[in-house]
């Protein structure tokens, strides 16, 4: 009779073994290597690194393998590992205008200094299943010119700023908080907001960004510039006194240009929303940029009426590790609370003395 409320160590151990079996699948099929995941599922690796807040493609690929392809679970694995790491240094701000570009586009100008670079993209592919991939074989690959070079590509929004048409971003020089070390308190600074959005769930930010396009906090955006490529990371150790490069990371940056009507004291200007993600992750960067801009409603004295404009709503719910954890905890036993509710509902359903008379 009492078995119903017992879990037991044996059950947990057996569940873990079953999980390992499910992950491995049919053992007559070769096991998936971490390096294969890293090389052949780079977009999944990018998402796990971005929302896991750790740039390590090998560990992200390992997490994807261990989680059997459940990316939210992989993000959780990487985050839990990241917490235990020692912080040696904060890097200097990365300079994305010096990026080694793989892809760059601007939807605001037909041509921009440095040109547009389509690069690897699903855009303009016909979404037809490619049955040749069912068979493994050589792939044709692109033709490349050994002497091809990319010109200087200044940031598109910088060109607008020269004319004073876009609101300049101010560096307050204040030290930047780390939301993984200090609790987020509201109202948050923009730096904290951007950190939370960078870790935020791609699907959630995509949906919220989409909601602003459909009129919930309407603020019509243009994709001012999206660029994907490698940037160097520099640190300046105190004992050295000069900066050194510690390597390069691939990032996707999105700057949205949004309308702004101006005010009694300011001429009309464009404003911007900013998105940045590790690896090639355009959907994430665009969603983030849309939501960043909509969360600046207060800054531009816009009416705050829609979910995407409400800082507490967005920041408290954008983290998929937190959300998945709290939703999944409903699977834990709630016998006691439910018993209390049962007792209460029975009591409430019993007619009171006045009603019975």
């Amino acid at each position: 009779m009492y078995v119903a409320v017992k879990g037991g160590e044996q059950a947990i151990d057996n569940a873990h073994k079953l999980l390992a079996k499910q992950r491995r699948g049919d053992t007559s099929v070769a096991e998936l290597g971490v390096e294969q995941i890293r090389q052949q599922l780079p977009l999944a690796v990018a998402r796990v690194m971005t929302e896991g807040s750790l740039y390590d493609a090998e560990l992200a690929a390992l997490a994807i393998k261990q989680s059997a392809g459940d990316l939210v679970e992989a993000i959780f694995l990487l985050r839990a590992y990241r917490t235990t790491l020692t912080r040696f240094s904060a890097s200097l701000p990365i300079d994305t205008s010096a990026m080694q570009l793989n892809r760059r586009l601007s939807a605001t100008f037909k041509d921009v200094p440095g040109g547009q670079l389509l690069g690897p993209t699903f855009d303009y592919t016909h979404r037809l299943l490619d049955f040749t991939l069912l068979a493994e074989g050589e792939f044709p690959g692109p033709e490349s010119q050994a002497d091809a070079a990319v010109q200087d590509c200044p940031r598109v929004l910088g060109l607008l700023a020269k004319e004073g048409l876009i609101k300049e971003e101010q560096d307050t020089g204040a030290s930047v908080a780390d939301i993984t070390r200090e609790p987020l308190e509201y109202p948050a600074s923009r730096a904290e907001r951007l950190q939370a959005l960078a870790r935020g769930d791609e699907g959630f930010l995509l949906a919220l960004g989409y909601s602003t396009q459909r009129g919930y906090g309407r603020n019509h955006p243009f994709a001012g510039e999206i660029r994907v490529g490698e940037v160097e990371v520099w640190i300046e150790p105190e004992e050295l006194g000069f900066p050194i490069s510690i390597g390069a990371i691939e990032v996707t940056e999105c700057e949205m240009v949004n309308q702004f009507v101006g005010s009694a004291t300011e001429l009309p200007q464009f404003t911007r929303g900013y998105g940045l993600a590790f690896g090639h992750a355009e959907r994430k960067a665009m969603g983030m940029a849309l939501v960043d801009r909509s969360l600046r409603a207060g800054e531009y004295s816009e009416e705050i009426v829609s979910p995407a404009q409400q800082e507490e709503f967005v920041l408290a719910h954008c983290d998929n590790v937190e959300a998945a954890g709290f939703v999944s905890h409903l699977k834990l036993p709630h016998y006691v609370d439910f018993q209390a509710e049962l007792e209460l509902i029975r009591k409430l359903r019993t007619p009171s003395r006045e009603q019975a008379q």
């Binding site: 017992k6 160590e9 917490t83 590790v321 905890h329 036993p333 609370d337």
Partner: protein, 297 residues
């Protein structure tokens, strides 16, 4: 000092700790940060202290707040008990107890009087606590006003101004609608005549055990990154009205195993006809009563 009067030997660690991790998993700086937060929480009973909650290797919502507090206060000599729904053998309690047995190598126990730290979800043990014990509660939503006012900025202001009118209005509306206060668990309390506090989702049956308890009560909410405390011998009163005084649940049944008629009972459904049976939710209390009953015979 119930533990001292027991003839049983002190629980010993079952296995050496896993040296790959720091003692109790968290690094020492993090534990210090949490302990500073706890000192503040003890100094301001019932006040929610924001803390830099870490990602734990267990999911949010599964006790990460409680685990971080336990990790911060755990010493090598401590004896840890972990319960979920009052039981030591529910899967998540087993999982958390194993986590600390592995990362801290501490002794664990299922017996309430032997434990120095008791981490719990949803219950306070039936066996009275003593002064050498610390209760650590796992908290999902630390803000008692959250379901009345969703904004954190607003609720912090309401706490600061001691403005709890909305809570009383909510309770009054319950009485007007149902004739009773329709809250069965996570029933709000006032701590030390100042802060309104969510006692975590314990049934209101357990609320009186918080009042003037000799044990230190610590509450940790990992996802929400808040911790709070009730120091020993602090007044904890459940919100009520003079003409509708606070009262706890009572059962018409006795425990089917130990026969207890004053412990919190879980309802079991035994067959398709819906035949009910009731057993103690606190498995250690139930087992103690059974063994005492045998000894008396």
């Amino acid at each position: 000092m119930n533990a001292a009067t027991q003839p049983r030997p002190q629980p010993q660690p079952q296995a050496p700790r896993d040296e790959a991790y720091n003692f109790a998993y968290l690094d020492e700086q993090t534990k210090r940060m949490i302990r500073r937060g706890l000192l503040k929480a003890v100094a301001i009973p019932g006040y929610q202290v924001p803390f830099g909650g870490r990602e734990m290797p267990l999911p949010y919502g599964w006790g990460t707040g409680g685990m971080q507090l336990t990790a911060a206060i755990l010493g090598a000599e401590d004896v840890l008990k972990v319960i979920d729904q009052g039981a030591d053998d529910t899967t998540n309690a087993v999982s958390i107890r194993r986590f600390f047995a592995r990362t801290a190598g501490v002794a664990t126990t299922e017996r309430t009087p032997e434990a120095t730290i008791i981490q719990t979800r949803h219950r306070i043990p039936e066996t009275p606590l003593h002064a050498d014990q610390i209760m650590v509660y796992q908290v999902p939503i630390p803000e008692p006003l959250r379901f009345i006012e969703p904004s954190e900025t607003e609720t912090r202001t309401m706490h600061a101004l001691n403005d709890y009118g909305v809570m009383h209005v909510k309770l009054y509306e319950d009485i007007a609608t149902f004739g009773h206060i329709a809250t069965a668990y996570a029933y709000p309390v006032t701590v030390d005549e100042r802060y309104v506090m969510d006692p975590s989702p314990i049934p209101k049956f357990d609320n009186p055990k918080l009042d003037m308890s000799p044990a230190l009560m610590l509450f940790g909410a990992g996802r929400e990154k808040r911790l709070y405390a009730v120091p020993p011998f602090t007044r904890v009163t459940s919100l009520d009205f003079e003409d509708h005084p606070f009262e706890v649940q009572k059962w018409e049944h006795n425990c089917a195993i130990c026969g207890s008629h004053d412990s919190f009972l879980d309802e079991l459904i035994l067959d398709d006809q819906g035949t009910q049976s009731f057993v103690c939710s606190d498995t250690d209390y139930c087992a103690q009563r059974v063994s005492q009953g045998r000894a008396a015979q």
